[in-house]
């Protein structure tokens, strides 16, 4: 990459975002992380940061916030407000601030590195899933607006990656033995999204703008966790 191109990652605390940051930097991208002291739903603070990278800004990757898990009876008002602000409100502010810069240039991309829980419920992840569903619609909506002005928008539904399996299966009995829900019977490695993200940052991905890209190792399209052999054995034993 000869020309300096900046990709901003708004929150690199998650395993997949951290991997992406390292990978893209190695590929020659100028990777800028939004400092942790800049609140993502503080429009003024975010704008100040964005102005600092505006000249070379090419793309933004906005990962989903930390999962807030728990049944409706256990969730508190603090959980509610946190989920609202860290999820949809932050995504909206990030979109507004960075896409306004990108549309001036008539190019660039915003990638919502989100979750399969924009479609697939957990049973104990209401606040997180609601935020994912909201950001999915944000991507579709802004594709109509910023998309016309040269900014491509992608919504990546990532599954549970290596290092992330514990939190969700502990909260919901529906996710016990989560690795068996993958056809390959193992949780994808932590760097499994790197190639996809790198592709989405290229012009070749433009025809995919506005789409949902499910990158979950087949988890959500896989129902029976038994192999055919095990299934036969199970039926015979019954």
């Amino acid at each position: 990459m000869t020309e300096k191109k900046t990709v901003v990652i708004t929150d690199a605390r998650s395993v997949s975002a951290k991997c992406a940051a390292e990978y893209l930097a190695a590929q020659g991208w100028d990777v800028q992380l939004v400092p942790e002291n800049v609140c993502l739903w503080d429009e003024a603070a975010l704008t100040a940061f964005a102005q600092g990278v505006a000249e070379t800004l090419h793309a933004v990757i906005h990962p989903a916030p930390e999962k807030i898990l728990g049944g409706i009876d256990q969730l508190t008002e603090d959980d509610w407000r946190r989920a609202r602000d860290e999820g949809p409100v932050a995504a909206f502010c990030v979109t507004k601030v960075f896409c306004n810069i990108l549309r001036e240039k008539q190019q660039g991309a915003i990638i919502y590195l989100n979750s399969i829980h924009a479609e697939k419920p957990v049973g104990k992840g209401m606040l997180f899933s609601m935020g994912c569903g909201a950001v999915q619609m944000l991507c579709r909506e802004i594709n109509q607006d910023y998309g016309r002005q040269g900014v491509n928008c992608y919504f990546v539904q990532q599954g549970i990656g290596e290092g992330e399996e514990g939190c969700i299966s502990d909260a919901s009995p529906l996710y016990c033995g989560v690795d068996l829900r993958y056809p390959a019977r193992k949780i994808p490695p932590k760097d499994h999204l790197n190639g996809l993200l790198a592709f989405l940052l290229t012009d070749a991905a433009a025809p995919l703008s506005g789409s949902d890209l499910r990158a979950d190792g087949g988890m959500t399209m896989y129902y029976n966790h038994r192999s055919k052999e095990e299934g036969r054995r199970y039926v015979n034993e019954e």
Partner: protein
């Protein structure tokens, strides 16, 4: 269970879609709480129409974005009738703003009304819905929770959230025998809409397809009420976690 024994809360039911729903439920013998926020006069008109037909209902004024007001309303229902079997979440706002016109405060407020009102209403009603042998939650949503339209991203986000709220809640309440479904409503003919009506954003359908005028694609509050009534019936006991599109096929155009 006889309908006469059942009790329903329909949020935002003083006018429009919600009024259509309470009128239908009361016509079936269900006792209803009519919830309104600002426009009590229209709620009183709705109540009169119900009473003329022999239905039983009362009005409770509450802002659904305020959890304590929702809790007060549910307590008033329990004080009056001692039970609650059906919750229809309907109260919502549509500010009709472009991305640049939203500030954080407006977005937070919209979220608190459009999804917070649904979430907190369920929280307040849940202890009583669990006691019912036929607990029902129906979330009135919009096709904008699935299809973008480029006139209000904030609004569409709240509808996307309702889609997942419905699915999560349906899974979570499976053991309680409470069904949770959503109705993804298309254009609906009502008295007036909240926010700034930019109807010109809705006209391209007529421009691009003159043989399919927009008015043919609108549903009436009665159509929504019929579907709500079905979802609350025993026959719909196996429908759970679904989002049923009610738009006369408009989204297909």
């Amino acid at each position: 269970m006889k309908n006469e024994q059942r009790v329903a809360l329909v949020t935002g039911s003083g006018k429009g879609v919600g009024a259509g729903i309470v009128k239908r439920l009361c016509a079936e013998g269900i006792r209803c709480c009519i919830n309104c926020n600002a426009n009590r006069t229209m709620a009183e008109n709705t109540l009169r129409e119900i009473e003329v037909l022999g239905g039983e209902a009362f009005i409770y004024q509450a802002d659904v974005s305020k959890p304590e007001q929702l809790a007060g309303m549910v307590q008033a229902i329990i004080d009056k009738w001692g039970r609650l079997d059906i919750l229809v979440n309907n109260a919502a706002m549509q500010p009709m703003k472009f991305v640049d016109e939203y500030d954080v405060e407006t977005l937070q407020w919209l979220w608190d009304v459009n999804i917070g009102g649904y979430y907190h209403a369920v929280k307040a009603c849940l202890p009583y819905l669990r006691q019912s042998s036929q607990g029902r939650v129906v979330n009135i949503s919009s096709i904008h929770g699935k299809r973008p339209t480029n006139f209000d991203a904030g609004y569409a986000m709240t509808k996307g959230a309702i889609r997942m709220f419905t699915r999560e809640l349906a899974l979570e309440l499976l053991p309680d025998n409470i069904t949770v479904n959503a109705i993804d409503l298309g254009g609906c003919r009502i008295e007036f809409k909240t926010g700034n009506p930019r109807m010109h954003f809705l006209t391209p359908v007529e421009v691009t397809n003159p043989r399919m005028p927009y008015r043919y694609l609108q549903v009436e509050p009665k159509d929504v009420a019929d579907l709500v009534w079905f979802l609350c019936s025993e026959d719909a006991g196996n429908i759970n976690g679904d989002g049923i599109r009610l738009d006369r096929g408009a989204v297909l155009i």
